[in-house]
Amino acid sequence: MRKNHIHSAYLISLAILFLSGCGTPPLRSGQSLLPSPFAQKPIGETIKEDQKSIAVTNIFYKKEGANLKYVEEISNKYDSSASMSGSQSGIDIPSTESKGPDSKDVFSDIQSSAFPIKFTNVSDFKPSDHPSIQKDLEARLAADGIPVPPSAPALPPVGNISAKSQVTKKAGFESHPEYGQLRSFSAAIRGLLIKSGYKVVMANTAVPTVNQGDEFFQVVDRIKAGEFNGADYVMFGVLGEMSFTDNVEDIVGTKSTTQQIGLDLIVDFSLIDTKTYQVVASFLAEGNGKEIRIDGRGNGFKPSMAKLMKQASVTLAEDVAIHLADQNFVTSTISQPDIGRNYKRNPYDDDSSTLKIYTK
């Protein structure tokens, strides 16, 4: 009899153990049953175990400025085989692609180089063939106090020596390439990669040198030079375009308008494996900051550049994350936040005994 009791107690305890094994484990602190706004499985989880490291460079850029420049060359020739020549550098006409006044605010946070002018793409050009340019040139020379040379000035003969003078006018574009880094837009990307389980290594700052050329963008040379502190991957970004917009639009159906100030940037990213130099992922990511003011125009509204830059930086990082997942750099996917999703609801209870108040 007693044996039976012991046996049943043993069976019951076994059953309880089995049942507790099947039960859902209790939630840990901070763990929620509700879906997270981002994916529960973070990106980079697959490589989290061995903690691959990644270096994210600042965003590199090359700013091109081009001025139209006239060059005049006067050469005098003497039949006594003596000759003299001289050149007179003329007028700079600024190019039309000048940046707006706000652009300084963004590019003030940069590390850039000021380089000597490179005179490129010079083509022979005769202003005399273009009356308007000729007129403009002469007016500018006169304004600068430079005597306007005649097209073929005749020098008086000195003794037996006869002389010929020739004026050659040339025009071309001189370019001002400027290389540098934008430092304010990569922090959000680094933060996102850290959250995703990467070990983020700080990349050395690349300093442009005198007479810097496009080798500034040679990231492979930098990897070989060991500038990325042994990182497994280097995420290298080059600014494609940055633009500021300031538009005013009517709001249909109202008497109001909106002033929309925007900062948009496009960055060309390449993710490079430092062992094989293979490009693991490559994409164009977009960031944009936006400030909207209702009836802003005419009220002296000044946008906050800091706010625009922060928004642009955050949206750029989000776009980077989406592209990294798209290109299978990480196997898990990033879902968009549920914010703004319109779930269907249950119909309103139409029971007449319940009080319903519908307000307009």
Binding site: G253, I294, Y343
Partner: protein
């Protein structure tokens, strides 16, 4: 004899008082059934409004765009044009349809063009007055755009003889995808009313 005279005069006085009181009182008021069929004239009336709204809302909820959608699609109400010779407040029709659709829980509505001014004023007040705590502000730039819009028209044909008046109404409603411009759903409700002397 004297008593009987007094009695008669009392009765007459009472009857006169009752008559006077009855003459002074207003028309008799009573509540009726709001959904009762109204047939006072052949003109557009409450029964027409109710039947149109109910038929349209029911049909719209059965369309695949709404019933087959995982989320509640966002819709806005555009104009319903009155092409009849009568004065018809078409906003009442669309408001009634909107209420019925909202009560179903299957659709969400974005403010329409007539409600935009108050929406803009409220956003301006919260965002630009500097009076509100930043974390509680409904921020500018986060309004949801409607995926679909509802628009339509009501038309009528009236025929009249000496003894007969016949009115035919047709109410047409369309659901248009704002992004693609495609007509996703359309339905109509016909009503015929005839009055004879």
């Amino acid at each position: 004899m004297k008593n009987s005279n007094i009695k008669i005069s009392t009765y007459i006085f009472s009857a006169l008082a009752i008559l006077t009181l009855a003459a002074c009182s207003g028309p008799q008021v009573r509540y009726g059934d709001a959904k009762a069929v109204e047939t006072v004239t052949v003109d557009y009336g409450s029964t027409d409004l109710q039947s149109i709204a109910e038929a349209m809302a029911r049909s719209l909820l059965q369309t695949k765009v709404i019933s087959g959608s995982k989320d509640a699609p966002t819709v806005t109400v555009a104009d319903v044009k009155n092409k009849t010779s009568e004065y018809i407040d078409t906003r009442v029709i669309t408001d009634k349809i909107r209420t019925q659709l909202l009560k179903s829980g299957q659709v969400r509505f974005a403010v329409n063009i007539n409600e935009m001014q108050s929406q803009v004023d409220e956003l301006k007040r919260q965002n630009q007055s500097g009076l509100y705590k930043n974390s509680t502000i409904s921020k500018t730039g986060n309004m949801q755009g409607a995926k679909y819009r509802i628009e339509g028209s009501i038309s009528s044909i009236v025929k009249q003889t000496k003894d007969v008046k016949d009115v035919y109404y047709v109410f047409n409603l369309n659901l248009i995808n704002n992004e693609t411009g495609l007509l996703e759903w359309a339905d109509e409700k016909e009503i015929r009313k005839t009055a004879t002397r």
